[in-house]
Amino acid sequence: MDFNWLSWLPLEYRPLCAVLVSMIAAGLIYVLGEHIHRNLREAITLIASVLKIVLVYSLIPAALAGTEVRLELFRIVKGVSFALSVDPAGMVFACVASTLWLLTSIYSIGYMRGHGEKNQTGYFAAFAMCLSSATGLCFASNLLTFFVFYEILTVSTYPLVVHYRDDEGIASGRKYLAYTLISGQIFFAAIVIVYSVSGTTEFTPGGFLDAKMLPAPWALIVFFMMVGAGIVKAGVMPLHSWLPAAMVAPTPVSALLHAVAVVKAGAFCTLRVVLYVFGPELAKSCGGAKALAWMAVFTIIVSSFIAMRKTNLKARLAFSTVGQLSYIVLGICILTPFSTAGALYHIVAHAFMKITLFMVAGAVFVTTHKKDITEMVGIGRRMPFTMGAFALASIGIAGFPFFAGFVSKANIIFGAVEAGQPLYVATLIASALLALAYLMPVVLVSFKKEVENPEFMEFGEADLRMLLPLLMAAILSVLLGIWPNMGLHLFDLSLMAGNSIFQPLM
């Protein structure tokens, strides 16, 4: 790709513009939303998302070449700058988030209109705000900048969770806030301690803390105080229960929560904390990485079993997300270059696959108003493309070769083998089978020949505005499996990130 025509915008300002473009869009939508035509309002979202994609993609060559792109705007507090910089790990997440924003926006337009939702202005504004802060997270180059965007993300997701404004929505909104705010405040305290002992908050590949700064019990305490924020958002058990509760929100919101921004932000936060703040050595020596890895293993297995018992499609997908996110956490905690690359790439792979699944669930819901799997018998016959996409994504989640999920999982397994942890390997393989066990029945049921429910005969394929994005996402997840470096070099970037972290150790 050639972005020479963008050369009038200096490289270091592009991350800032990528953050600002959706923030401005959010402001415009909130202020003007009720006064302009809804098409115009949606145009703001779409234009902003296209601009954002261009800005983010234009940074890829720099990230690949390893040039330092860094912008220090002002001092956020005394001694710490508000700094944005581009590094491979952040780049991967930014590409995913910006790409999926476009897909999700198109999809949400179809969904919201098809479903006749209220409060669409607030919805689109909050959505743009979420994406803005997610991009900020990717490019934040120190803990404090990271935390600023992290809390903005927390707050701006809240209106999305309580979108329906009924009792259930309020309850799950409260649950969401309780989990994220408590963990966020503890994160804050930990940042203060880290800053106090080390005098810096700058993310460094391989970490900037060492055992001298934080003696033995403190290192573990601070580790969990910091990682806590990440794993709450990533939904690692036993801190996952807000995630299924947040399923009351509209489906695009679930897609956003699960695939695009929020849980990925949690996983990304864990990555930053473990590998860029503590570093592999301290994480290993204080015992935090191991404890976290076992939490992840536990989550992977248990969530799969819970998922099997859920008949509500969205709830099943939610627990699937809980499990899949723990792959990323596990990959981070194995602490080898390959597993780290795999974990990062799993952010990409899981994003595309899970968003497909959620979009399908939403499309089915809007078209047929069915939520439960038992009611979907034979629906695939009426909506072949939709359910076909679902089948593709399910296979991907299970980690079949030539699907995106395979690339990432294989790397994590390589890493586990390299680290000599056969139990992790076994867990990963077992969970792949479990994933098949809970996702394939949906596919099989929906393609059953005999149509039990006569009312299905009236439905056709989903609305084009929903169908197109979900098909694109499904196709992309397949393409990324066959050709991991397609277009954006995401796999290379993941490998680079992994190597840069473990470079000083070798």
Partner: protein
């Protein structure tokens, strides 16, 4: 000429406006108010000029009457009070603009007297911030208190009782302050703060400092409503007159805290023997304050009462910084002083606006009020988030400085309390946000004809507070630099 006399002109201009306000109101109904507003605006402009001068040339010492220092009264403006003066005059200006809508009785005498008292309250606050003389501080403290009693008493029949109770307690505080001043005067023979500090550090005065400390902590504790002394505060803040409530709640509690800082750090200094006990006592009070205030605020149904209790908690943040004592933590307290003035002021501006439009302050009536007042609710949300301490608003950064000061001194318990207190804040402020944005519409009737959201003069304060909260948050490092010009020398 103006440049040389800035410290005193900032106070004299609103004073003159206050004194002439009644006369001018007699000439023309609007003249009195216009003069008061213009005078406060003038002192805002001058205070900004003064801040520039202080940053450029260092502290200003202004001897009134040109007498040598310990003999006359001296104003000392360093970077701390220059910033605080800017804060006071900004909030003073916007509330002077705002307050006029709440005057129900427009007879010239009452209207003029009301504006007079607002101007005098601002004068007293400005004076407290700039003076460098122990007894002069008392006079300004009393001017502030007297005008506050009057403004609280204007808030209806309950306001009278709370004003009376506040008056009794406030007079105890003022008397205790005078006792402490007498003790210090008896030991040093001077009333000038700098001179007193010099004498106190020259010999063994530890006993007298301890004794006067025992009187000063309750005195300032009562005036700023720190935990065990806060009894008067919730009802007084709740029932104060609606137009000036932002000024009373936002600024009035901060100045005693500032004076407390002056006494403990500038006069007593940090190297006297009992300083650890002092800081421990302050720390205990502020921790209790933070927890108690937040817990009580959670149970309130009246938004005014909720915010009043939350003030008890927030004052705890400020004195927590004094209890930690490093320059960074002190900068945090001062940042919180400034930031909280705008947050609490802003919240009360919103409350007042809602009451003005719909005549209610009950939280249960606030359902989806944001559709009718989007701008007001925008500020309400931002101020509430700032109270909780969500970045990038002002509240987060003051908490950061406080916490990092505490971490430097290894006061882990303070960090834990900061975290717990902000979570408790989150409980009730998200309750408020939930009411405003999510709950069922309570079907409020607009008291005025359907028009724009609010009159322009009520929108100005709301916009100013909104900008200030975010601005203080984003440019906190600059403010802290300015504060550290002075704090770097006095902290631990």
């Amino acid at each position: 000429m103006i440049e040389n006399n800035l410290p005193v002109l900032i106070i004299i201009v609103p004073l003159c406006a206050a004194l002439l306000c009644l006369l001018l109101t007699g000439i023309n109904r609007h003249l009195g108010r216009a003069v008061v507003v213009l005078a406060v605006l003038a002192s805002l402009v001058m205070s900004v000029m003064q801040l520039g001068l202080v940053i450029k040339n260092g502290p200003i010492h202004y001897a009134i009457g040109n007498y040598k220092v310990p003999f006359g009264i001296e104003f000392v403006i360093d970077s701390l009070n220059a910033v605080i003066i800017v804060m006071i005059s900004t909030i003073g200006f916007i509330s002077a603009v705002y307050a006029d809508h709440f005057v129900t009785d427009r007879r010239p005498l009452l209207h003029g007297a009301y504006n007079t008292i607002i101007a005098l309250l601002i004068t007293g606050l400005l004076g407290m911030a700039s003076t460098g003389d122990v007894f002069n501080l008392y006079v300004f403290l009393e001017i502030t208190s007297l005008s506050a009693y009057c403004l609280i008493a204007l808030g209806g029949s309950r306001g009278i009782v709370s004003a009376y109770r506040y008056m009794l307690v406030g007079t105890i505080a003022a008397t205790f302050y005078l006792v402490a001043a007498a003790l210090l005067y008896g030991a040093t023979g001077t009333l000038n703060m700098d001179d007193m500090a010099k004498i106190l550090s020259s010999g063994d005065y530890d006993t007298v400092m301890l004794l006067s400390m025992c009187f000063l902590i309750p005195a300032f504790g009562i005036k700023m409503a720190l935990f065990p002394f806060h009894g008067w505060q919730p009802s007084a803040y709740t029932h104060a007159e609606a137009g000036t409530r932002p000024l009373i709640t936002g600024v009035m509690g901060k100045l005693p805290a500032y004076a407390m800082f002056r006494f403990f750090y500038c006069i007593f200094g940090t190297d006297f023997r009992y300083v650890r006990y002092l800081m421990l006592a302050l720390g205990v009070f502020s921790v209790c304050s933070m927890l108690y205030g937040s817990l009580m605020a959670m149970w309130q149904n009246d938004i005014r009462k909720m915010l009043a209790y939350s003030s008890v908690a927030q004052i705890g943040y400020i004195s927590l910084g004094f209890a930690i004592g490093t320059p960074i933590a002190l900068a945090g307290s001062f940042l919180h002083m400034i930031g909280h003035a705008f947050m609490k002021g802003g919240l009360f501006f919103c409350t007042g606006a809602i009451r003005y439009k719909f005549g209610t302050t009950d939280l249960n009536d606030f359902g989806r009020i944001y559709k009718k007042m989007p701008l007001t609710c925008g500020l309400l949300t931002v101020a509430a988030l700032s109270m909780i301490g969500i970045p990038p608003t002002a509240g987060f950064f003051s908490k950061w400085y406080l916490a990092s000061g505490a971490a430097d001194q290894h006061y882990w318990i303070y960090i834990a309390v900061l975290v717990i207190s902000s979570l408790l804040n989150a409980v009730y402020f998200f309750k408020l946000i939930e009411k405003v944005f999510i709950n069922e519409d309570a079907g409020l009737k607009d008291k005025w004809s359907r028009g724009p959201e609010l009159p322009l003069t009520m929108l100005i304060p709301i916009v100013v507070c909104f900008v200030a909260i975010l601005g203080i948050g984003l440019f906190n490092a600059k403010i802290v630099d300015v504060l550290l010009l002075t704090l770097g020398e006095v902290g631990l």
